[in-house]
Symmetry: C2
Subunit: 501 residues, 2 copies
């Protein structure tokens, strides 16, 4: 029975079979037709295209996104440097012994753990293995993890390198961190942190300079913000005022929600936390203090009388604000007694920044911590630092349409490729342009003009150079401004001068 | 028996006990003395300082190292941009299905795998679990891995985003990669790769421009190099010349060793690989070809006659060298028939760079690959790219003492802090200096002059400003050049002008 034709109908019938994660295989039937009746040949396995994707919660960044992200990082970096901060970097992986127990139980779960190389099962305790006791097994089969933040690795760095560091140590660090959080809008499993810290100095001038850094960064980025300031010591004073210092955490957790849930709900929460109605009536006027910073600070004296923590806390705020009087702030600094964050580690000033014109949580925050390196055995080293939330800042700039035009822009000029002779002529010009520091690219293939111009548009070249026979004969170049559409023909030197501006 | 004193003698007796990896505990005896005789109290467990370290094969980077590394990255980045390349970034983690099988069996072992979050044991096949079959278990308990290079993630990026990319796509990528290699001098488990690739164009102008990029980068870095050039097609031609195309891998592996083991050993290896003595006598003259690039290319015609692969390979080299004639190379380009690298993926030109004045392997390399994205189902997309070895370049610059002075330099100026009044005066000056774009720092604490100057020296401030009573009265500032030791007293404006240069 002769075969007239053999065709493949791969989509008529297929089944997905997982061979290994991500690899899918399609089984398809190959039909063969004779002039009499179709003959079904045996099933044939075809390895098809691999499904490509990236782990959930992670992102690729395109050239445009890179330009915009780098604009944010470079702005922050430049300002950090202006204030004498210097960069360091730490490894992406830390020993799990360094990371575990530093972020609470929930944090431990969110650490990405790296499977030991080689026979990871060998060192596992047989009983734990057989009972699948993953709590015990994890540290037996994984000794490294990805860093969860930049603070703990920095503390580890300081302790490990303490003999080489001259204190006070002012460092900044712009690196990714990883958290196995449930991904959602604006929350990623890999994201950048942009931290600056001073370690080894108690001076309050650092708090003031960090506020100035915040002001300068957001001034440069064109985002109007309010910098909120408080002292952890004043929160202590509130708990002491009602005679319940042991309730400080519960009290501040409630206070912290004022913005979100309003004063009545805060009242309820404070009662639930264990305060009496009388206590609450003492607390509410404090967190609702109105007026200028100076007015609020004055009222504090009446409210707290000579409570030691309150006196110290007020002095901190007074000092920082006094330093700032010498500086011409673009944004507002607001002393806010309801600001309560990072209670577990902050011991002095607390700083938080919100954008005035965009719906967004805190876009920068920080504070003073008196015992960061204590967890690694180096006691009594005080530090103060801030961290910019680059991803949120990105979203705010996008919302407000504040990214500068230049972040949209591709390389300066593309030279159109009209043919072999023109290409050679354009190639020489590209060499001269680059020598003058102008980013230039010759379209590599001799294809239709339209395709080349599509490429130039897609890549956002602000200029295109065209050369045809006339230009070659006259030793000239036709420069087209891609925004205005204007064209002019002139010598290479003239073109270089035009593009150098 | 009354206790007179209770003192701790923690170092009299201790034993190290591992509680969890990295956490050490010391057991110590607490003595109590009465007026009669010492009383030894029960053993007491004290959690002592945690041992701090980082995973082997990883590194911290100090501010000086950062300045030097950034100098290298920025040089490479600037030149890439000058040639129209644009940055992208991909996530640190990829799905293991994306990475596995792309680097050979050995590569699969060297991938860092990330343990699934939550109950990783739940999805494990019970039989594999009970028999500790780690080959099978790995993909069941770990679905993500850290990227091993930038090439495979780039191929994945191109396939995944192919509808948004306008080809040819010229991207560069400067990001860390991770390999669970045995750490040794110059080989790290986390290191940076600096790749540029053009994908979606067959034009040989890219090969030429990549050579120009290499030339420009090393010119800017001040390293004399030789850029070696060959074509994979000429290696194919050699195998065909002796009538043993199936031996191409063995033949090129031997040829590749010429530099290291010398011609006699290469002869032996070729015989072992399966070539006859006659074959070897045909191959040796080719890989030992001497003379200028033009002379070597001319001799090729005689050696290979009309072998198709040889003709094509020669044409590639001819074309690239012709493009380069328009460009004023600082470094030598050498057509080298013994250059054989990346045989598994390169299909056209091969490029390799060596430093002339330092003992170091290849510091940059690359080539043309005709089917990079084929592994992810996107066929017939040709690419060509290079990669700079930043760590080796760092070592070469250090060996040759070629890092510019500026990489040593700290922030521009430190203002000494002589007391409260002086501090306020200095603080105002710092604000003005920063406003003028000059990185300035006030020493935060009022400590001895010597300690402040030690800090200024350690941080490599090129200038220090001193203000005492005289300066405050005269409204002046004393500027000290820390290199020359020169001092001068002048107005703030004058100081700013001096430091702005």
């Amino acid at each position: 029975m002769p075969l007239l034709a053999q065709i493949k109908l791969p989509l008529v019938y297929y089944r997905k079979i997982a061979i290994s994660p991500g690899l899918t295989t399609r089984m398809c039937i190959t039909y063969s037709f004779s002039h009499e009746k179709p003959l079904i040949l045996p099933l044939k396995l075809l390895i098809m295209a691999q499904k490509v994707s990236i782990p959930k919660g992670t992102r690729d960044f395109s050239p445009l996104e890179m330009a915009r992200r780098n604009y944010i990082f470079e702005t922050i970096r430049d300002v950090y440097k202006l204030y004498g901060f210097q960069p360091i970097e730490t490894p992406s992986m830390e020993l799990l012994s360094t990371l575990m127990g530093k972020y609470g139980e929930e944090g431990d779960k969110l650490l990405f753990k790296i499977l030991n190389s080689g026979d990871f099962a060998k060192k596992a305790n047989p009983e734990h293995w057989n009972t699948k006791n993953i709590n015990k097994l994890t540290s037996q089969i994984a000794e490294k993890g990805l860093r969860y933040d930049l603070t703990v690795p920095f503390a580890r760095y300081v302790v490990q390198n303490r003999n080489d560091i001259t204190f006070p140590f002012k460092r900044f660090q712009i690196q990714p961190v990883w958290r196995a959080d449930r991904p959602q809008k604006g929350r990623y499993r890999e994201f950048m942190q942009c931290d600056a810290d001073v370690i080894g100095s108690n001076a309050l001038v650092h708090e003031a300079e960090l506020v100035m850094i915040i002001d300068e960064v957001f001034k440069r980025l064109g985002i109007n913000v309010t910098v909120k300031l408080n002292s952890r010591k004043l929160l202590t004073a509130i708990a002491e005022l009602v005679g319940k210092p042991e309730l400080i955490t519960a009290i501040t957790v409630s206070i912290d929600k004022l913005d979100k849930i309003g004063i009545d709900k805060v009242r309820e929460e404070l009662i639930q936390a264990g305060l009496t109605s009388d206590d609450v009536e003492k607390v509410i006027p404090i967190i609702e203090l109105k007026g200028s910073n100076a007015e609020k600070l004055n009222k504090l004296v009446q409210l707290f009388e000579s409570n030691e923590a309150a006196v110290e806390g007020k002095k901190e705020i007074d000092t920082v604000l006094a330093y700032l009087k010498n500086y011409d702030m673009t944004n507002d600094v607001e002393f806010d007694l309801a600001l309560a964050r990072g209670l577990n580690y902050y011991t002095g000033c607390i700083i938080e920044v919100k954008a005035n014109d965009a719906q967004m949580g805190s876009i920068c925050g920080g504070g003073r911590y008196d015992d960061l390196t204590g967890i690694f055995g180096l006691k009594d080293v005080s530090g103060v630092g801030i961290s910019f939330g680059a991803d949120r800042i990105y979203d705010v700039l996008e919302q407000l349409d504040k990214f500068p035009e230049t972040t949209l822009q591709g390389p300066t000029v593309m030279l159109v490729n009209f043919g072999e002779k023109e290409m050679e002529y354009a190639f020489k010009a590209a060499i001269a342009l680059r020598k003058a520091g102008i980013a230039a690219e010759v379209y590599p293939d001799q294809v239709k003009m339209k395709k080349q111009m599509n490429y130039a548009n897609a890549k956002n070249f602000p200029y295109v150079i065209m050369v045809g026979e006339n230009e070659i004969n006259d030793n000239t170049y036709t420069l087209k401004n891609m925004t205005s559409g204007e064209q002019s023909t002139s010598s290479l030197n003239d073109v270089i001068n035009q593009l150098s501006n």
